[in-house]
Symmetry: none
Subunit: 155 residues, 4 copies
């Protein structure tokens, strides 16, 4: 078999397999469509509970993809929701982990840069890779966490 | 007529008139529903033109209500779209006004705080009051301006 | 053929093809090894020219992967090199483009957020995707540009 | 003896003595070569332990000389490693000192500017003078401290 045939075959296999990957749900980045799906699921739950919140979706580099603020949510929630999402992304764990460490008396973590020690920020993972994060703020941190988790159900 | 009856009457009239106001399209603030309607109209036009952009809606205080970033839009557009919306809101005029003044040689305006001299930011008005702004970035500033204007059609 | 055999075959093909991808030079992120190779090539050229510079490599989200400051380089170059790399990444083009637009009299671009209008910042691309950027500062912007370009030769 | 001869003699002695100083290992500033030696020793130990970390070397003024981020290290480590190095330099002591004081209940130190209360930042000293600092972040603070110390062995 000639080399050129081999290269063509490999290329075709690559395209086919990447396409299959997509069909199998593999994602290496978070699209606007993904972000909307997650945020809308979270928003629907917030409406159902009658809780006013800000919902934020960021990409793997920490940049905004999608943001919505429900009416009457306090202004502080804009920045809090962003910082919760960044905490989950930059530290590769739910922001609740830091809230629990504070509760356990580990006040030294308050010196960590860009860390917000409240529930409501979750990494968004796909096939073991973190491809973004969701952040929610507006009600109690436990309720914010419920809304954030609702966003990731079915994703 | 007793004072208490009078107070009740005035209260009822107030409620009725506010309701009429709402039915007549009067808004004294931009709701999430409004923001989504404007952003979705802009987004639909961007998709039709096959232009990738960031679309931002801010409230009367300059705070984010709604934000979406189409896939493949350059990262710089996140901040640019926000700054265009803020320019339109804080200076009560389309951001294009400043682009034109630069073109006319008035470079001194570059010292104006929080001013971005490119088309794509528009105030959102209702009954003569500015209640927010839209900012768009991602393609040429003229194209960004077309998308921003499309958002306000029918609002 | 049973479905399970099919799934196994697809999985094997995926692994094989991704491995081939890697062998064919496809990268979807910039590794430390990549960053060092690029920075070392730039550094070697700077030493050859006897130019003292800062060399910065950032990832697709704008975060530092690798940074080196040659002795005697002015302190300002630390931040300039980072901003040149970010300009190239966030605006998806060489930072020289903005220097040229300023030279052509388009002073309005000075209001663009996070934009540094000097040569020396280049996007790092692989298979048509921007996966990071290099920034160089220390000598003239033209010389900085020569060092940055030398980094990308052979990558 | 004429004054001019005297001046020449002193100059020659200065040059000779500075040269002797250098041969005796005296350094009054941290060169890129020094920074790379320290960082590479730390990096080698991190690879040996299979720990992913960011390693930072700053000069006597707190400015970056050298920075490397191993693949898969969490993004937060970029800023944490820099802050650990700055804590060690600005406060002239290992950053672990502050972690220990927090553990001892002295939470008031959280108000100290630019202080990060976690192990992993060490001053770099030469002949009793602090000429820079190393900061490491990515694993536990104790492990970060082991990597930082490994960098200084043999320097």
């Amino acid at each position: 078999m000639k080399l050129s045939y081999f290269i063509i075959m490999v290329s075709v296999l690559n395209i086919v397999s990447l396409d299959l990957y997509a069909h199998m749900g593999y994602k290496n980045f978070l699209s606007l469509e993904d972000a909307k799906q997650i945020a809308n699921a979270a928003h629907a739950r917030a409406q159902q509970e009658n809780w006013n919140v800000v919902i934020v979706i960021i990409d793997a580099g920490g940049h905004l993809i999608y943001f919505l603020k429900m009416d009457k949510t306090m202004l502080a929630s804009n920045e809090i929701a962003i910082q919760k999402a960044k905490t989950a992304l930059f530290y590769k764990r739910p922001s609740k982990v830091f809230q629990d460490r504070i509760t356990d008396g580990e006040s030294g973590i308050l010196s960590l840069p860009g860390m917000l020690a409240f529930e409501g920020g979750l990494p968004i993972e796909c096939n073991g890779h973190i491809i973004g994060a969701i952040g929610v703020s507006g009600v109690t941190s436990q309720q914010d966490g419920i809304i954030a988790a609702a966003g990731l159900v079915g994703f």
